[in-house]
Symmetry: C2
Subunit: 301 residues, 2 copies
């Protein structure tokens, strides 16, 4: 009697989120500005073109304006800072994404700190991270929200349960751990934060029932590491070479799906799991930013 | 052949911190203002008079000015906000503490958010919590620093090791968990966050070698819960009735020292462990705030 591993498709979660986003957009009067999401990035040098195409497509489908903001070739930290300042000051822009991580000498942290929290739709500025930690969140990192919403949609055991977060990045692993540990009505989970330097990952997560993996390490999670019957939410997305694909690469998660098949109770696929839900969270966040700025008239500075 | 439980006295850690604070103060020229720490509280209604007396004594011994700022009897949230605003604007004040938790209708979170991060010496404002989470800390909660410094002083196994933090408060447990999980030169620990709703605390912390307890629950940690040979840093401080003491009460930690004697490898006492080290961290933080404001001329707003 083997375990049947449930495949946790992101599509129904995305559909539910988009329904809420559309409902909020129906409150828009003809004189209101269109909700606008600006995306700042390095242009052709950026390895994240794929995500932006997905964001553009989702925005168009919902009636959100997607404003592409590539930096000119050869631009440096000063151009990035100037671009963020301009978008922060522009009343026709409600939400701003800044590509990250960025290579040296770019300073993502310095640039994102210039954005008022109302427009920091991905919740990665110190102001929004501080609100999250202080228990008064405004925008929260979209990928952390997506991981929780997909787990909740499929009824995974994580509320009040022991869970693991693998990865301790400032913008994914740590915010997710804080959200998971939040008191009711938060998930109220007992959270173990593991990472690349954890000595014995298998032992560390042996008693957890749901594992949120944000390591960005293909093949990390196999049946040698994951406890039998645990559920895996695969938040890690990496690009691996694949000459058979257009572009020469494909996206993979931290989990080895072949190894976990018949072993894990459930697994989110990559692609098609947390990724599309994250895009839907960003769209919902953009509409919330638009609502908030419409109400408050510009936000805090 | 029992275990001999080492008593981890805070005094030598405090002495080492104070030595650094004194060295920094020797850079003061006669025309420089005295470093000044202001303490805002509810006056006679506050249950924390004991801590303030200790802060006053430590400040006087080091040459730091301690400015007592009791609110008038019957004061409410508006008086608290006005007091914080005034101290934030006062160039002769370098560091400000605000009593917390505060009963309704006081709003600690709203008041502390008005303080510029340079003066928030206990690192509990959203701005400082955000810097901590974003990996760019300025001031960090003093009690979390104290717990780490005492563990480091006595060479407890926590750097690169599995550790537990019991408690998930915004100002103690969560900041401590984030500090412990920080990449090298941070402690690089694998961190489990447990709390009051954790189903099976014994099982949850069974594989951890050092336990940081911030629950504020006297008697929580006994040999029935703590793994044999683990070290306990007792961060929880509660007041329990004791008619034999002046004032009718005494301070106790989360640990039951009698139960852990001969079982835990090490234990910080309460009182005399993390408490005095926390006061020394606040004094060091006050001098750092003074240095920073002297250099930057007023700080950020």
């Amino acid at each position: 009697m083997g375990i049947v591993t449930q495949r946790l498709d992101g599509a129904p979660v995305t559909a539910a989120l988009d329904e809420g986003t559309r409902a909020a957009l129906r409150t828009r009067s003809p004189t209101d500005p269109l909700p606008t999401l600006a995306s700042v990035h390095r242009g052709v040098d950026s390895p994240f073109q794929f995500y932006r195409r997905r964001q553009l497509k989702a925005a168009e489908a919902l009636g959100i304006r997607f404003q592409d903001e590539p930096l000119p070739p050869g631009a440096g930290p000063r151009e990035l800072v100037e671009r963020v300042r301009r978008l922060d000051a522009d009343p026709s822009v409600h939400a701003v994404l800044v590509e990250h991580p960025l290579p040296d000498p770019f300073d993502f942290g310095a640039a994102i700190a210039l954005l008022r929290p109302e427009k920091d739709v991905d919740g990665v500025s110190p102001a929004n991270l501080g609100r999250l930690l202080a228990g008064r969140p405004m925008h929260v990192p979209a990928v952390a929200l997506a991981a929780i919403d997909i787990a909740r949609h499929y009824g995974l055991p994580f509320e009040g349960e022991p869970v693991a977060v693998i990865g301790r990045s400032e913008t994914v692993g740590l915010p997710l751990a804080i959200l998971l540990a939040a008191r009711p009505p938060g998930p109220n989970a007992t959270v173990t934060i593991a990472h690349s330097r954890t000595h014995d990952l298998r032992q560390t997560i042996a008693n957890t029932r749901t594992i949120f993996s944000c390591a960005g390490k293909p093949g990390l999670l196999t049946r040698e590491v994951v406890p039998e019957g645990a559920a895996v939410v695969d938040v890690g997305i990496s690009s691996v070479p694949d000459p058979s694909r257009p572009g020469g690469s494909r996206s993979v998660g931290d989990a080895n799906p072949e190894s976990l098949e018949g072993w894990a109770s459930a697994l989110t696929p990559v692609p098609g799991g947390v990724g599309p839900v994250t895009v839907a969270e960003l769209m919902r966040g953009t509409v919330r930013a638009w609502e908030r700025l419409r109400t408050e008239g510009g936000g805090s500075r």
